[in-house]
Symmetry: C2
Subunit: 469 residues, 2 copies
C-alpha cells in the first residue's frame, strides 16, 4: 500500500472527492471501542476508507499551496523513528538523534548561504519556526529580562513585516503576547517586495511613540508570489535600529541553491535567524520545518532553564532539548539527513533549477494563451495568473467581480477534477490561480496539462455562467 | 530491523552506551553530501550506527521519565502518514484525517471522564498542550482583546500551579509573554498536592496588588510522584475567582480508567481544559500529546483568523486547522485511533490497573528491603525511593549529602548497565530513585529485577565510596 503510493502516484486523484461527515463518521467515528479488532481489518479500513479520503501529494499534477511529494525511503524510515521513539533530547540518552539534528541544521545553513556553522532545530513547520524566531528576537532585543518579567510594565514592542507575510506571523505575535496590533504590516511595491521608505517611516514613528522596535522580518520568497525582499537593505535597517533580523525562507530559501537565483539572496548571510522548511522544497515527509540561528545561545537563552555556562554547543554535553520549547519531541531531522545523503545536494540544486525553469515556462504559456492573464512574473517557482475570457476587458468593476468569481470557481472545479491542483490567492484585489512548482514528480508535460485543464474548466464555467451581470 | 525492535525488545540495552562526539561526527556528520548514496548503504548505517546510539523504549526494563514502549502496528503506519503527508487541515482537503482527529479527542475525553463531547487536537506533547491551555485561558479570562492588543498596557496576569509543576509550565508562561515571575508556584502538602489555603491567600494578595488571576492549573498526576491535586476544590476556586481551570494530566489522566483510582479524579469533569498524552500511558508512538477543551470555540477563538460564525464544530465545514496554531501539521491522531481500535479501551484499563498494582508491589518490596527507603507511596504508577545502606541513619547532614551522591551515582550506574532504567528526581531535598511503570512490556519480574539491580549497584558503589566523609 505504501510503496504503491510512490510507484503509481496518479492512481489516486490529487485532491480527494468530496466526503460527507456521515460517511467519515461511519468509517472512523462512532462510540469508543471497548474491545479490540485485528490489525488486518484495520489495514483494510485504512486502504478502503482512509486513502480515498486523503489528499495525494505524490501526484505529479500537484502545484498547490507549498505542498510537495514525499520521499519513499525517508517515509519508510519514519516507521523506525516511531518504533523506537527516536528523539533529540540529551546527548547521553540519544546521541545519534542529537548529532543528526545538529548536522542537518549545519548543512541547511550552508546550503543556502546563511552560515556554515548554524545552530537550530527542526520544527513542526514554518509557523512554529517563525514563532521561535520572534521569541528569540524578543529575548535578544527587548532590553529587559522578558522571560522572567513578561511584557507588562515595559515599553510596547513592535515588529515589522510586509503585507505579504504568511498568517503565522500574525498568530505568532498574538501567541507571544505582543499583540497583532504591534505587528506592523508594511506595504509592498509592484513586485510584492517590502517598501523600504515606508518601513523606515513606520519605525521612526514607532520610536517617537515610545515603541521598542525589536524584530524585522524579511522574505526569502513569499508564499503568495515568491517575492524576495531586499535582504541587504533590511539588514542595514535592522543594524541601524538595533533590531533582530529574521528571514522567512520557509518556501523560498532553497532557491539560493540555484545559480540563476542565488544573487537574489544577497544579505541572507546577514540575517540573525532563518526559517527554512525541508518538507517543502526538499520534498521530505512532514514534519520538517526548521529554525536556524547564528549561535546556539540564541536558542538556549530563549528556552533553556539552565545557565549558559552549563550548556555546550558541541561535544558530549550538547543536549538538543536545551535549544527548543519541548523536552521530548520526535526526531524530525533523520528524514532530512537521509534525503540529503541519498540524493546529494547537487541533485536538489538541479531539482530547484528545474522548477524555476518550469515556472518560467508556465508563465510563457500563460502569456501566449488568449484566455489567460499573467498576474505575477515568477521570481522563483510560483506563477500567478487568471483566466480571462478573450471577449472581456478587465478593469471594469462588473468584469472584475465576475473574473474573481470565475477564477474561484475554476480553482474549485479543478479540485474535483483531481488530475491537477493549483491553489488560489488574492493579488491586488484580483482572485488569481497560483501554481507553485516545487514537487519532484512534476514535469513540463504536467505543467502543460494543468494549464490545459484550467483552460477547459474556465471555458466550461464561463459558458455556464454566461459572463458579467 | 523495525519488527526486531518489537519481537526482541531486549536485544539492545534500554539506555545506549556512552558515545563520543567524534564517533557520532564520523557516522552522521562531516561535510554536506554533494552526491548521493544508495538507500541500502544508508540502511546499513542506520542499523550499525544509529540503533546502537539510540535509546530503546520497548525494553521491558524501562521505568524512567514517563517514557513508554511504542506500538508496532501504529508505528508501521507512520510510514503511510509520512508517505502521503496526511494532515488534519481542512475537511475538503483531508476529510479522513480531520475526522479521525475529532474522533480521537472525543474518545480521550470520554475515557477519562472529562467530557463526552470534547474538542481538541493532538500536539507534539504535554509541553505544547499546556502552553495552548494557557493561551486559551488568556483569551477567555484576560478581559480584553489579548490577541490584538497583547499584554502591554493592561493589568498584569497571574497563573497558579503547585511547585510540583513540570518545567513546561514555566516555559509556557515565558513564551506567552506573561513572564515566569507571574506564574505563582504554590507549595504542596506532605503528599505533594497543592495547598489550597496558601493558594487562596496568594490569589487574594494578587488581587489586592492589581493582578488579574486568569488561570489555575491542577495536576491529575504529577510527573514527579503521581500526586493528584484536589480537583473539585480547585474547580470551586477557579469559579469563585473567575479563572480558567486547566488540568495537566499528561501522564496521569489515564488512571481515571481504572476503578481503583477513578475516584481520585473527581472534579476533572469540571475542568475547562485537559492535557493528556497518549504517547505516554497509551504507549503509542511519538508524537501524541493532546489538549482537550469543552468547546471548539475555546480553541477557535484563540487561534483562528476567521470569525466564529464561519467556523463549524461539526459537519463538512469543520476545518481542524482553525483550532490550532499551525496550518499544516502532520497527522498525530491516526496512531492513537489505530491503537484504541486494535486493543480496545478495556485493554488499556487493564494495562493501567496492572501498572498501578506493580507500583504498589514495588513499594512493598522497597518497604521490606533493608537497604531501601520508600520516599513517596505510589498514588498512581510512580514509586520514589532511595538506597540507604542499613548502617547509616538518615537525617544527619553528612549522611544526607552522601545519600544524595550515592543515589545519583546509582542512577547513572544503572544507565550504563542497560538492563533496566529508572530516573532520578528530588523530593524534599532528597535525591531519590523514581520508577514510573507505564510501559506494557514491564511485568512483575522486571520490577523485581530492576530493584535487584539497583541494590547490587548501590552496594557496589557504597563499598567503593566508603560512606559519608
Amino acid at each position: 500500500m505504501i510503496t504503491d503510493e510512490f510507484s503509481d502516484p496518479a492512481r489516486r486523484p490529487v485532491f480527494p472527492p468530496a466526503q460527507t461527515w456521515d460517511a467519515m463518521e461511519m468509517a472512523f467515528g462512532g462510540s469508543l471501542p471497548h474491545h479490540g479488532m485485528p490489525p488486518d481489518e484495520l489495514l483494510t479500513l485504512v486502504e478502503d476508507k482512509l486513502l480515498p479520503a486523503a489528499g495525494n501529494p505524490n501526484h505529479p499534477g500537484l502545484m498547490a499551496y507549498v505542498l510537495t511529494a514525499s520521499q519513499p525511503f525517508a517515509a519508510l524510515m519514519e516507521a523506525l523513528v516511531a518504533a523506537i521513539k527516536l528523539r533529540p533530547t540529551t546527548w547521553k540518552n540519544q546521541p545519534a538523534s542529537c548529532h543528526i539534528e545538529t548536522t542537518v541544521v549545519r548543512w541547511l545553513g550552508e546550503m543556502v548561504g546563511f552560515s556554515d556553522d548554524a545552530a537550530g532545530y527542526l520544527t513542526t513547520g514554518g509557523s512554529w519556526a517563525n514563532m521561535v524566531a520572534m521569541a528569540v528576537a524578543r529575548v535578544r532585543k527587548a532590553g529587559w529580562d522578558v522571560r522572567a518579567e513578561g511584557l507588562h510594565g515595559h515599553p510596547p514592542l513592535a515588529a515589522y513585516v510586509s503585507t505579504e507575510a504568511h498568517s503565522c506571523i500574525d498568530r505568532s505575535a498574538e501567541l507571544l503576547g505582543i499583540g497583532a496590533n504591534s505587528l506592523r504590516k508594511v506595504p509592498v511595491d509592484a513586485h510584492f517586495r517590502i517598501r523600504i521608505d515606508v518601513l523606515d517611516n513606520m519605525i521612526r514613528a514607532d520610536l517617537n511613540a515610545g515603541y521598542k522596535p525589536f524584530c524585522l522580518i524579511g522574505h526569502a520568497g513569499t508564499v503568495n508570489t515568491g517575492a524576495i525582499d531586499p535582504l541587504d537593505t533590511l539588514a542595514d535597517l535592522a543594524t541601524q535600529y538595533e533590531m533582530w533580523f529574521h528571514v522567512d525562507g520557509a518556501y523560498g530559501a532553497f532557491a539560493a541553491l540555484a545559480p540563476q537565483t542565488r544573487p537574489l539572496f544577497a544579505g541572507l548571510e546577514r540575517a540573525d535567524s532563518l526559517t527554512i522548511d525541508p518538507h517543502k522544497w526538499l520534498n521530505t515527509p512532514f514534519e520538517a520545518g526548521c529554525i536556524l540561528t547564528k549561535r546556539w545561545d540564541d536558542l538556549g537563552d530563549t528556552f533553556s532553564l539552565i545557565p549558559p555556562y552549563l550548556r555546550a554547543a558541541m561535544g558530549e554535553e550538547h543536549n538538543q532539548y536545551e535549544y527548543g520549547f519541548e523536552l521530548s519531541r520526535t526526531d524530525r531531522a533523520l528524514k532530512v539527513w537521509l534525503a540529503l545523503n541519498q540524493h546529494g545536494v547537487d541533485c536538489y540544486r538541479d531539482l530547484v533549477a528545474n522548477h524555476l525553469s518550469l515556472a518560467q515556462y508556465l508563465a510563457e504559456l500563460v502569456r501566449q494563451a488568449d484566455d489567460f492573464e499573467l498576474v505575477s512574473t515568477p521570481v522563483l517557482s510560483i506563477c500567478c495568473f487568471r483566466f480571462v475570457p478573450p471577449e472581456l476587458t478587465p478593469g471594469d468593476e462588473a468584469v472584475e467581480t465576475y473574473l474573481n468569481e470565475l477564477n474561484h470557481d475554476i480553482e474549485m472545479s479543478l479540485m474535483q477534477d483531481g488530475r491537477a491542483l493549483v491553489s488560489g490567492t488574492e493579488l491586488n484585489h484580483k482572485r488569481v490561480l497560483r501554481a507553485c512548482i516545487a514537487s519532484h514528480p512534476t514535469t513540463q508535460a504536467h505543467v502543460e496539462q494543468a494549464l490545459t485543464l484550467l483552460q477547459a474548466h474556465g471555458r466550461e464555467l464561463h459558458r455556464k455562467k454566461g459572463g458579467p451581470r
